[in-house]
C-alpha cells in the first residue's frame, strides 16, 4: 500500500508531534499498510482519507499502541512507541473512536472516569469546563444524569469529543468524528478544532468540511 500527500495547503515546520517511518501493518495475515511514512508537526491538522479497509483506523490504533506494527517506526513527540513508553505517551494523546463504547453508568460517570486514573488525577479541575463544552456542542446539562446506554449515536460521539477535550491533550486522534453528527454539531466541532492553534490533530474523515479545515490531507490508497 502506498500513501501520498494529496495537498499541502499550509507550511508547518514545528517540531514533530507524530512521526511514522516505513510502517507496515497487518491484520490476520492481510497487509493493510506497507511502507507508509508520515510526519505530523506540532499544531498541524492532518486529515487521513482513503477507501474503507485501507487501514486508517488501524493506523490510529497503532499510534495508541493497540496494533503492533509488523515493521517500521512510530514516535510521538520524539519518543518511539515501545511497551515502556506507551503508557506515558497515551497521556499526550486524546482519542475519539468512530463508535465510542462508553461502558456502563451515567454520562457524568463516563466523563469523570478518566480523572480517576492516576495519570489524570491532577487534571480533575478540567471537569469544570463541562458546562462550557456542553453549551458549545449543543448538549443539555440534563444529559449528565442519563445512562450512557440510552444515548443516541450523535450524543455518544459528542460526549466522546467532550471527554477527549476535557483531558486537554496536545495531540488528538479523531476517527470519523462527524459520522453521526448533524450539520450544526459538525460545525461546532470544526469551530472548536479551528480555534485550537496549538493542537495537533490527526483526523480520519471523508467529510469535505473537515478536509477544508486541514492543513494537509493524506490519502491512504
Amino acid at each position: 500500500m502506498e500513501a501520498k500527500a494529496v495537498s499541502q495547503e499550509e507550511d508547518h515546520t514545528g517540531s514533530p508531534a507524530i512521526e511514522i517511518k516505513d510502517l507496515t501493518l497487518a491484520f490476520e495475515g492481510r497487509v493493510l499498510i506497507e511502507g507508509f511514512s508520515l510526519l505530523v508537526s506540532s499544531g498541524e491538522r492532518v486529515v487521513l482519507k482513503g477507501p474503507s479497509g485501507a487501514g486508517k483506523t488501524s493506523l490510529l490504533r497503532s499510534i495508541l499502541g493497540f496494533t503492533v506494527p509488523a515493521k517500521g517506526y512510530i514516535a510521538v513527540r520524539g519518543q518511539q512507541i515501545r511497551p515502556e513508553t506507551i503508557w506515558d505517551l497515551r497521556t499526550q494523546i486524546g482519542y475519539v473512536p468512530q463508535e465510542p463504547e462508553p461502558g456502563n453508568g451515567t454520562v457524568e460517570e463516563w466523563l469523570e472516569r478518566p480523572f480517576t486514573y492516576k495519570a489524570n488525577r491532577s487534571l480533575r479541575s478540567n471537569l469544570e469546563r463541562i458546562p462550557e463544552l456542553f453549551r458549545h456542542f449543543l448538549l443539555p446539562m440534563e444529559l449528565l444524569e442519563k445512562e450512557v446506554q440510552v444515548l443516541s449515536g450523535g450524543e455518544k460521539q459528542r460526549m466522546a469529543i467532550v471527554s477527549a477535550i476535557l483531558l486537554n491533550r496536545p495531540i488528538m486522534l479523531l476517527d470519523e468524528p462527524t459520522s453521526a453528527l448533524d450539520d450544526l454539531s459538525k460545525r461546532r466541532l470544526i469551530e472548536f478544532l479551528a480555534s485550537q492553534e496549538d493542537l495537533t490533530a490527526l483526523v480520519v474523515s471523508h467529510d469535505p468540511d473537515l478536509r477544508a479545515l486541514a492543513h494537509r490531507v493524506v490519502t491512504l490508497n
Binding site: 495508541l64 493497540f66 494523546i93
Partner: protein, 262 residues
C-alpha cells in the same frame, strides 16, 4: 453414635429409584438417557475409587499424604477451570493453581486451627472433607469469575481500549470488569447464605447430624463452612484475575487473544 452404614445390596437396590427419571426421559423423548447413565456410572466408579483411597488416607493420617491429596484435588480443579473457560494451559495453569491453593488453604487452616482448635492442622478427618468443600466452591466461583471477566473484556474491548487511550493502566482499565466478575462469582454464595436453613438443609450440616452430632453443634460447623466458602471464593477469584492479568495482556495492555483456545 455414627451414621448407619449402608449394605451394598441395599445400595444396589436403591439404584432402581433411577427408573422414575429415566422412564420419564424415555417417555417424553428427553435426549439425556445415555448421558445420565454414563454420569451415574462415572459417579459410582469415581466415588468407589475415592472411598477406597480416602479409607487408606484416613487410616495413615500423615500430614504430607493429606497435603498431597489436597494438592491433587487443586490440580484437578485447576485443569477444570482451564478447560471450562477455554484458556491456554501453558499460560494459565500456574497462576490459577496458586489462586486455588491460596483460596482453599487460608480459610481451611483458619477453620481447623483457630475455629476447631485441633492440635494438628493437617488431620485427615477435617482437612480433606472441609478442604474438598471449600475447593469445590472455589472451583465453581473461579469458572464463573474468570469466564465473566475475560468474556466481558472481549465483548467490551472498545470501552477497555478507550480507557487505556485515556491514560488508564491495565489495573485501572479492568476495574469495571473485575467488579462485575466478582459480583457474578460471589452472588451464588451470598444468595445461599441469605436463604440457608429456610429452603434447604445444607450438606455439611446434614453430614454432621448424620454423624451423630446435635443440630445445635451442626449449625456452628455450617456457619464456619459458609464463612470459609465465601472467603475462599473471594480470595480465589480476586487472585485468579490478578495473577492471570500478567499473562493475558500484551506489553501494550491489549488483551492477548492467543491466551484463549479457539
Amino acid at each position: 453414635m455414627g451414621a448407619v452404614d449402608i449394605e451394598i445390596t441395599r445400595l444396589a437396590l436403591y439404584y432402581s429409584l433411577l427408573i422414575i427419571p429415566l422412564g420419564a426421559m424415555l417417555w417424553l423423548g428427553v435426549p439425556m438417557v445415555r448421558k445420565t447413565l454414563l454420569s451415574v456410572a462415572r459417579m459410582t466408579l469415581q466415588l468407589a475409587f475415592v472411598g477406597l483411597y480416602l479409607q487408606v488416607v484416613f487410616e495413615l493420617d500423615r500430614p504430607w499424604i493429606n497435603t498431597l491429596w489436597l494438592l491433587v484435588m487443586v490440580a484437578v480443579a485447576d485443569l477444570s477451570v482451564i478447560r471450562g473457560v477455554k484458556l491456554r494451559l501453558n499460560r494459565f495453569a500456574l497462576p490459577l493453581f496458586c489462586a486455588l491453593v491460596m483460596g482453599t488453604a487460608l480459610p481451611l487452616l483458619f477453620f481447623v486451627g483457630p475455629l476447631l482448635n485441633r492440635p494438628t492442622l493437617l488431620e485427615a478427618q477435617y482437612v480433606i472433607p472441609i478442604g474438598g468443600m471449600i475447593l469445590g466452591n472455589c472451583l465453581r466461583a473461579d469458572i464463573i469469575g474468570i469466564r465473566n471477566f475475560y468474556e466481558s473484556l472481549r465483548k467490551g474491548e472498545k470501552a477497555y481500549l478507550l480507557a487505556l487511550a485515556q491514560g488508564a493502566r491495565i489495573r485501572e482499565a479492568v476495574l469495571p470488569y473485575l467488579r462485575d466478575a466478582c459480583e457474578a462469582a460471589l452472588m451464588p454464595t451470598v444468595a445461599t447464605m441469605a436463604t440457608i436453613g429456610l429452603v434447604s438443609l445444607p450438606g455439611m450440616m446434614t453430614g454432621v447430624i448424620l454423624g451423630g452430632t446435635s443440630p445445635s453443634a451442626a449449625i456452628k460447623y455450617q456457619i464456619g463452612i459458609m464463612i470459609a466458602i465465601f472467603t475462599g471464593t473471594a480470595i480465589t477469584v480476586l487472585l485468579a484475575i490478578a495473577l492471570t492479568i500478567r499473562t493475558a495482556f500484551t506489553p501494550y495492555g491489549v488483551l492477548d487473544l492467543d491466551s484463549f483456545r479457539k
